[in-house]
């Protein structure tokens, strides 16, 4: 234990040089601050209509009910604005007929949408069917739940990268060779190197939640899954440290692995649940799903046990493969 702590202490001392430790702690917090500014704007986004004086007040009021409106002076200004890089939709009236002005490269069937908008402007609400609006009270916009989950996972992966780069630095400067002559065992060395990478997500997670304004979450569950995820953090760092002989190849292998990992998270977000079995091989998929469910307030201990089991099982298999690689090529 003392030897593990002394490796950790050494890493902390090295990390405090050049403000590295400060950067490592601050980076995800800074990102959380940026997301907390960014997220409400995304959640509030809706269609943007630009119009001129040809529309009546009643028509403008109706447009304001379904999107944001911008009044411009004339058709030329509307054309200039529609031609801008974002998607805004122009609407003016020529005598009794509406003219829809579109750039032509908008995503989706915007022409159909705008014709529906025009139909709405012409409709009489007194003829509408009686309706009621209710909700299931899930007030967390996806950009907040997915964004917060991604930030926590970024911290987990960052921890792994720090472990990996530290190991590679030791390899480059032959520190590992020197350590091999000491009583320090390989497992002790790896654990000592891993402490900093494991502590980071534990420090970051409550701060990120606080910045994102997410209170009332099941912190015990979150703490549990972040701790289980530390096994993956250690694997990721060890993988980078084992297969890379220098810092350039460490960056490259971290990058290559990132595509695979990011793919499993994007798949979890974009694919229907019936297709999620395609992602079961990825520990990061299970980490993402578990953290997402906790952040979204829909987690259960049953799911957490299943996902923890999957994370541990898959990561141990990956450790086994890495161990065989290391023994064969003696890279550590």
């Amino acid at each position: 234990m003392k030897r593990i702590i002394s490796i950790f202490k050494r890493d902390v001392v090295v990390a405090t040089r050049d403000f590295v430790l400060l950067y490592i702690i601050v980076a995800p917090i800074l990102l959380a601050l940026l997301l907390s500014v960014f997220a409400p704007d995304v959640a509030d986004s809706s269609a943007i209509f630009v119009y001129d004086e040809s529309l009546k007040e009643t028509e403008i009021n109706k447009l304001e009910e379904i999107g944001h409106v911008i009044k411009l002076n004339d058709k030329d200004e509307i054309i200039t604005r529609v031609n801008d890089s974002d998607d805004v939709y122009g609407l003016i009236k020529n005598k009794d007929n509406y003219e829809i002005i579109l750039e032509g490269n908008e995503a989706g069937n915007i022409e159909g949408l705008m014709k529906l908008v025009v139909s709405y402007l012409n409709s009489d609400k007194d003829n509408w069917l009686i309706y009621k609006i209710s909700s299931i009270d899930f007030k967390l916009p996806p950009v907040v739940s997915i964004g917060t989950t991604s930030l926590i996972i970024t911290s987990i992966i960052l921890g792994g990268m720090i472990i990996g780069l530290n190991i590679v630095e030791d390899k480059e400067f032959s520190t590992i060779n020197a350590l091999n002559t000491s009583p320090l065992g390989k497992i002790e060395y790896i654990l000592g190197k891993s402490v900093l990478g494991i502590i980071l997500p534990i420090i970051h997670t409550p701060i990120v939640l606080k910045i994102m304004g997410l209170e009332g979450l099941k912190l015990t569950q979150l703490g549990f899954i972040v701790l289980v995820s530390s096994l993956f953090t250690i694997f990721y760092g060890l993988m980078i440290g084992t297969i890379s002989s220098n810092q350039l190849s460490a960056i490259a292998s971290a990058k290559g692995m990132m595509f695979v990992l990011a793919g499993s998270i994007l798949g979890a977000i974009a694919l229907k649940e019936s297709l999620h079995y395609l992602l079961y091989w990825s520990p990061l998929y299970w980490i993402y799903q578990a953290i997402y469910k906790i952040v979204a307030g829909i987690s259960t201990w049953r799911y957490l046990w299943i996902s923890s089991g999957a994370i541990i099982l898959i990561t141990m298999i990956l450790f086994g493969v890495l161990n065989k690689y290391q023994k064969k090529y003696n890279t550590l």
């Binding site: 040089r17 940026l34 122009g90 829809i100 750039e103 014709k115 529906l116 609006i133 899930f138």
Partner: protein, 345 residues
């Protein structure tokens, strides 16, 4: 010129010795495989609609477009089932058709996070399907840029501009910093300073090396995904300019730090900031000013135009102007900070 060419040769050999060419090819191959075989060509990002139709209400809707609405929905046999399904799918709405004294009515169940505009638009859509808004097809439609429609571009090809922006064009940001810091660590730069060649030429050789790798990566990804019928001139100009300014930015950051781990965080933060406009790529109505001023915003739209829209240069010109400006700015910053590369503070 000879000195520069020999430096360029040295840089190439260094990158090949460090397996960098292999890494560029491997990552390009991974991206090609992911784009062609993993990312679906179509994905329905519209909200799912879960429907519980009351039979009496449905009878009163026979002369409306109700059947089309039902075909687009997933039908359940109770409100509770609708709610249960909605709880598993955050991108869904629930619609409960009811009968009020022989006339249909409905309850729209939202998740809770939607803003009023989205909810009201959904109500308009439903009222239209249920025959209470008559569809008006008489409006004149003016398309400002004919032939620029991207509706038929499959989703997997739609991500190619992002792939070549984030991987090919911006690869210099990280890798050139790593290469420079490694040389600082190994004191190669200090030894180099004693030679007749100047550090500016060395940094220039690194830039050109990154530029050529950017081209290689981009050409491979585009050829094996979109094909060869793209505007190559615009594409390569944008990638070249971006490679130069991002490499200069990477060099500036690397010049200021002594070790890779200390440079890593600023590099990661800069990468994430440059990647932020990707949100607007998938949600074009969300384009606040703080995203539009990012150079990668106009770059990704310029690349999209170069790859998929023929006869249009608008976004390319905007992106190119911005990139030229950044090349000037970051070249200057690289030259100003180069003394740090040699250890002179």
């Amino acid at each position: 010129m000879n000195k520069f060419l020999s430096l360029l040769d040295k840089e190439f050999k260094l990158t090949i010795r460090n397996y960098y060419l292999f890494i560029v090819l491997a990552i390009a191959l991974i991206l090609i495989l992911v784009i062609r075989f993993v990312v679906p060509s179509e994905i329905n990002m519209e909200k799912s609609l879960y429907l519980y139709p009351n039979k009496e209400a449905v009878k009163t809707l026979e002369d409306t477009n109700y059947q089309n609405l039902e075909n687009k929905s997933t039908v359940f046999s109770s409100k509770e089932e609708v709610i249960k399904a909605m709880e598993k799918d955050y991108n869904s709405l629930g619609l409960i058709l009811k009968s009020n004294n022989g006339e249909a009515g409905f309850e729209l169940i939202t998740q809770g996070y939607e803003n009023d505009d989205i909810i009201n638009m959904a109500i308009v859509d439903i009222q239209s399907y249920l025959g209470r808004i008559e569809f008006d097809d008489s409006s004149q439609v003016t398309i400002l840029r004919e032939g620029s429609s991207l509706e038929n571009i499959p989703l997997n090809l739609n991500v190619v501009p992002l792939a070549i922006m984030l991987e090919s064009a911006l690869m210099g940001l990280f890798l050139i910093s790593v290469m420079l810091i490694l040389e600082k660590d190994h004191k190669t730069i200090k030894a180099f300073v004693t030679t007749p060649t100047n550090v500016t030429l060395l940094l220039g050789a690194k830039l050109i090396t990154m530029l050529l790798y950017s081209f290689l990566s981009a050409i491979l990804i585009v050829v094996f995904t979109v094909g060869v019928n793209v505007n190559w001139v615009n594409t390569l100009i944008l990638i070249g300019l971006t490679s130069i300014w991002s490499s200069c930015l990477g060099l500036t950051i690397a010049n200021l730090y002594k070790s890779l781990t200390s440079a890593m965080m600023p590099l990661i933060i800069v990468s994430l900031l440059l990647g932020a406009p990707v949100v607007s790529y998938f949600a074009p109505m969300f384009a606040p000013t703080y995203l539009k001023i990012m150079p990668t915003y106009s770059l990704m739209l310029g690349l999209k135009e170069a790859l998929f829209v023929s006869g249009s240069n608008t976004m390319f010109l905007e992106a190119a102007k911005f990139s030229i400006f950044l090349v000037i700015i970051f070249s200057a910053s690289t030259i100003m900070t180069k003394k740090f590369a040699t250890g002179k503070q």
